[in-house]
Amino acid sequence: MPQVFSLRRVLLIKLGSLVLLIVVAATLVVMHWQMQYPNAVGAPVRQPIPFSHKHHVGDDGIDCRYCHTSVERGSSAGLPSTQICLSCHSQLFSDANIFNPLFSSMQSNRSVVWTRVHDLPDFVYFDHSIHVAKGVACVECHGRIDQMPLTWRVASLDMQWCLDCHRAPQPHLHAANEIFAMPPPAVSNGEQLSGFYHLRSRQRLTDCSTCHR
């Protein structure tokens, strides 16, 4: 009987199975990509007004709390109302037409529609105030915002990332007066600080009920 599998056939078969492998791998990659955030880490997000933290924080040295008013008291840091923006920009650069959305918002009494940069799932309950109160500086999650001409995300914001800090917060703590500094001096005395802030046990900080309800 003749060979069922000539060497050519064997080769073809090998190539075929290789292709199959590649397809599977590709599918997995696509799936992974599917589950990604709308805006990637490090990618500037398009906004109705090209707001520059670099300018406001870095150059002008405006305190975070001037705009993000409720960061110390509320769960959400709060986005500045049109009013707050205009408190300066009714005078400064008020003729620049990049501010049109601002003025039209004030006239129409409709909000400026910003695009989210940091978006957590609805079943995660993050509270800015407690993090700030416990010495977690802005820079720890938001990075060098003072160097961002447009705002982007520096953290993956996935559960693993949260846990990394909740499991060992010490290196991320800062003195109470340096929380809003950009950048705050590097910390050496994390242990001391965690004592100072009365941080709860690792167990408490990694309880599911700490973030999920």
Binding site: V23, T27, V30, M31, W33, Q34, M35, Q36, Y37, P38, N39, V45, T69, S70, R73, G74, S75, S76, G78, L79, P80, S81, T82, Q83, I84, S105, M106, N109, R110, S111, V112, V113, W114, T115, R116, D119, L120, P121, D122, F123, Y125, D127, S129, I130, A133, K134, H198, R200, S201, Q203, R204, D207, C208, S209, T210, H212, R213
Partner: protein, 940 residues
């Protein structure tokens, strides 16, 4: 929405189709943020704020604090300063928030059923006003319900002055006419009665369920329950409940005597004789004992006659209280809070049918549905030239009227209202009217001709006229406090004149008793899913009413649960299914009102049967000589609890006061055989906070307020009748009821002991549910909470199988409404809205604990006892629920768990629950046999 959701959908797609490659197309769209244009003062995004206002039911106010989150009112709490609340509320107040957001509410002015415009309406009413100015209100009539609002009353007063010919009619289906008539009989003038339940050692009620009905029910429940605790300084009270139709009070009374109305009347008169000291030979033993007991406690006893009873019996009750020297001690009299009505509905109907009514204003009243069918109101309405209905819904009346004007909800408008004792409260809006809508004040203003005067100005103007000096300070304080100080009516000293004996009720083979429905009241709440799905006491029935009758009556007519019968009374017929309630009086059937509506809304239409169809023209409460015919067809109910026999498993431990005294540790007897069972597992230490809950079964009156408060707080979805019938209701805390006594025991069937037991999650330290979850979606946190992580749950339901208390609830389908915007806006943003396919359960209100903990951490001092209050605990009228930190030795809950009455449910399973119970203690009269024998009526 959020990433994970899209991920879920994505993977779902894979699972469903398996076509992986094709589905890879687009990522979730980016979310947006909309900051304020003008940031409100002192507003903290995401933090709840509380505003004091009032929940108004049948005109009476219950002071409430409404939790508002980002401007959205989402939860009702009681106002501790308000005399009718003292921090608690009833089921209706809790559900009223859903009514506010009800997507079925009226959204537009309608003329002849067609959508019209506000401007058209305004021109219409101004022309009416002009007309009225001319003929001084001739042919102009107004129909309302009870009104206690001082401002509105003032406006009506004004109207009468401007338009002398105007007539004002009031109609309340659940009227209190007999009581005021009785007061008039006894005192010569109508008076309201205020009971000082907490002062009474012996209470005898005549068909009076003061725990569930009346504007003071919530506060009476609290006072009542205070004296049900054996450790109360003044000792336990003793309650004899003579009742025609089973109510909450009867089920928690020490002695419950079911009597048909006629029997009850006879017993009342006999009691009077006995109290006088006369001897009656045919008086049953229990009646004589009651008389003795009453005489033994002169000045500290109380006789209460229910609103259904004829005036003569009310008068009798007054004179007996007088005789027993109770008035001013346990009972007080005040001027009527609802001013005596001007004219009745009957007069209106006759006037209408005579064509004597040109213009009729129906303010927030649904007479077309609620008026007795016999009165044929809607037929008469056709003779009215111009009929105007103002209400929340395009209801039955709205459809019959020429004009319909949407009213803003109580929480959307300025007004005021008085509580049962006259205390006034300013009703302030929490949110701008969702669907537009005006207020009765504005309508009357327009009628009075002062066109554009807002409700706000009207209310302010009225109070300014009373408190002119530094009014704004006063205004601020009353808005903050929710109560207008010393606005309560003063108690009057009056002497009841004795009444001569008369028979108002005659014995009948079968008497029908009309009753307010525990869930939908008089029908106002028919469209409220939370209430419709709330199990009715004693039957656990949802989404239905039925003709309630005793076992004996059912046997007599050879009917069973679910048999459809036809009731007939002079010519009017009504078909209704039967439900047997053990302990119902024989020769009587109870017909709950408020069902069988045809224009209530999506939820309420066609639910149950309409008992108004049988109600006599004078809206009286009893009709005798009713005929019952079995039709042979069947009807199926949706129950949340199908088994009422505890099968000798003693879930509810109980004893009498004397037994307790004899053996304080009696709860151990049942549990010692298994208590202290050893364990191989290590003890986890909970050294920071250690949350626990204790439920006092002596205090629980089975009112279900906890269930609905929990539903409101935790975004618990409504599933509908079919799902409930399949055993899929979602309540996180359920109130079990058991009828003590076996099925065979005849007397137990006739009048069983009823035991209530609220069952939330037990938060077991050795939780069986956690051990079996394959993905670890439920686990213990370091404060001992049994946590359920919805976003981790894959829905194996193993945890529920392994939960001996069956307190876990599963989203078998997508129950949470994802479409209707208003329902989304109603939800508590602090609680995850559960997706289809995940398990959920009581969390001890984790969101409240977390908020409290964060605040405490920020201020740097530990949480104090009582700082965290769960939703069920807050609402409980009897304060039966204690919650707190077990590590704090003198926290309320820790003290409760050291009580000798403290026991854990199914202790033998060694699950170490954090939720425990205090055994139920009753205080029966030893000289009355446990099973009461009731008198056979002479002429039966």
């Amino acid at each position: 929405m959020n990433i994970s959701l899209d991920r879920r959908q994505f993977i779902k797609l894979i699972a469903a189709t398996g076509a992986i490659a094709q589905t890879a197309c687009s990522r979730p769209p980016p979310e947006t943020i909309l900051p304020y244009v003008h940031m409100p003062e002192r507003m903290l995004p995401g933090a709840p704020e509380y505003y004091a206002t009032a929940f108004v039911q049948h005109g009476y106010a219950i002071g409430v604090l409404i939790e508002s989150n980002m401007g959205r009112p989402i939860k009702i709490e009681g106002n501790p300063h308000h005399p009718a609340s003292r921090g608690a509320t009833n089921t209706f107040a809790q559900a009223s928030i859903l009514q506010l957001w009800d997507p079925d509410r009226s959204r537009s002015v309608r003329r002849d059923g067609i959508v019209s415009t506000w401007s058209e309406w305004l021109s219409a009413i101004s022309s009416i006003s002009v007309e009225a100015q001319k003929n001084r209100g001739a042919g102009l009539r107004i129909l309302t319900g009870n009104i206690t609002s001082p401002t509105l009353l003032a406006q009506l007063q004004q109207l009468k002055i401007q338009f002398p010919n105007l007539h004002w009619h009031t109609y309340e289906p659940l009227h209190n006419d007999n009581a005021s008539a009785g007061a008039t009989l006894a005192f010569g003038k109508p008076l309201d009665v205020i009971y000082r339940i907490e002062r009474a050692n012996v209470i005898v009620t005549l068909d009076a369920d003061f725990l569930s009905h009346g504007p003071a029910a919530t506060i009476y429940a609290r006072e009542f329950a205070a004296r049900r605790r054996p450790d109360h300084a003044a000792g336990m009270n003793r309650v004899y409940a003579l009742e025609c139709s089973p109510g909450l009070l009867g089920t928690v009374a020490d002695h419950r005597i079911p009597l048909s109305p006629a029997e009850l009347e006879r017993a009342a008169w006999q009691l009077a004789e006995l109290i006088e000291g006369n001897t009656i030979n045919d008086a049953p033993n229990w009646l004589q004992q009651i008389a003795l007991d009453l005489n033994r406690h002169r000045g500290e006893s109380l006789i209460i006659a229910g609103p259904r009873l004829p005036p003569s019996l009310h008068a009798l009750a007054h004179s007996l209280n007088e005789r027993l020297n109770n008035s001013q001690h346990t009972i007080q009299y005040i001027a009527p809070v609802v001013p005596p009505q001007n004219a009745s509905l009957q007069e209106l109907v006759s006037a209408m049918s005579d064509g004597g009514v040109d213009t009729l204003f129906i303010l927030n009243n649904n007479a077309v549905y609620q008026a007795p069918a016999a009165l044929e109101f809607s037929a008469a309405l056709k003779h009215v030239r111009c009929s105007i209905h103002a209400g929340f819904y395009v209801d039955e009346t709205a459809r019959q009227c020429q004009w319909h004007v949407p009213l803003a909800h109580t929480y959307e408008q300025w007004s005021d209202a008085r509580a049962y004792d006259g205390t006034a409260t300013i009703v302030q809006p929490l949110i701008a009217p969702l669907y537009g809508g005006t207020s009765p004040h504005e309508i009357l203003n327009r009628l009075l001709g002062n066109e554009s005067r807002s409700a706000y100005d009207t209310v302010r103007a009225y109070w300014r006229s009373l408190r002119s000096e530094n009014f704004d300070a006063f205004w601020q304080s009353v808005l903050q406090r929710g109560v207008i100080a010393d606005s309560a009516f003063p108690s009057q000293t009056v002497v009841a004149r004795p009444v001569e004996k008369s028979r108002a009720l005659n014995d009948a083979s079968l008497t029908a008793i009309f009753a307010a429905d525990p869930a939908v009241d008089d029908g106002e709440y028919s469209n409220n899913g939370w209430l419709q799905e709330l199990p009715r006491p004693l039957s656990a029935m949802t989404w239905d009413n039925a003709a309630l009758m005793s076992v004996a009556t059912a046997r007599r007519y050879n009917v069973n649960n679910g048999d459809i019968v036809e009731l007939q009374h002079n010519g009017r017929r009504l078909q209704t299914p039967v439900w047997i309630v053990p302990g119902h009086a024989d020769r009587a059937i109870t017909l709950p009102l408020g069902y069988g509506r045809w224009a209530a809304g999506n939820s309420g239409n066609g639910v149950g049967f309409n008992a108004y169809a049988l109600r006599p023209v004078d809206s009286s409460w009893f009709i005798d000589g009713i005929q019952l015919r079995k039709l042979g067809t069947r009807y199926s109910f949706a129950l949340t609890q199908t088994q009422t026999d505890s099968a000798d498993r003693k879930p509810v431990l109980h004893a009498t006061l004397t037994e307790l005294r004899a053996q304080p540790e009696f709860v151990r007897i049942d549990t010692e055989k298994n208590s202290g069972a050893g364990s191989l597992y290590p003890e986890y230490s909970y050294d920071n906070y250690k949350w626990g809950m204790t439920i006092d079964l002596s205090a629980c009156i089975g009112c279900n307020a906890c269930t609905i408060a929990c539903q409101a707080e935790n975004n618990i979805p409504v599933v509908g009748k079919n799902e409930v019938a399949r055993g899929r209701h979602m309540h996180w805390i359920r109130v079990d009821h058991y009828f003590e006594g076996s099925k065979e025991d005849e007397s137990a069937q006739k009048n069983p002991t009823v035991l209530y037991q609220p069952v939330p999650c037990m938060h077991c330290e050795r939780a069986p549910c956690e051990e079996v979850c394959p993905v670890g979606a439920t686990m213990h946190d370091s404060e001992g909470l049994n946590v359920q992580v919805y976003n981790r749950c894959v829905g194996t339901r193993f945890c529920s199988n392994n939960c001996p208390y069956k307190v876990r609830r599963f989203n078998f389908l997508q129950y949470a409404d994802r479409e209707r915007e208003s329902l989304k806006a109603q939800r508590n943003p602090e609680v995850t809205v559960r997706q289809r396919g995940v398990m959920e359960k009581c969390t001890y209100c984790l969101q409240r604990i977390t908020r409290g903990r964060i605040e405490a951490e920020k201020r740097g001092t530990p949480l104090r006892d009582g700082e965290i209050v769960t939703a069920c605990q807050a609402v409980c009228p009897t304060q039966a629920i204690a919650f707190g930190n077990l590590n704090d030795g003198d926290s309320a809950v820790a003290r409760a768990q050291h009580s000798s009455r403290n026991y854990t449910l199914l202790e033998e399973l060694n699950t170490k629950p954090r939720t425990t119970y205090l055994a139920k203690i009753s205080n029966p009269n030893a000289s009355i046999s446990a099973q009461l024998s009731k008198p056979e009526p002479r002429d039966a």
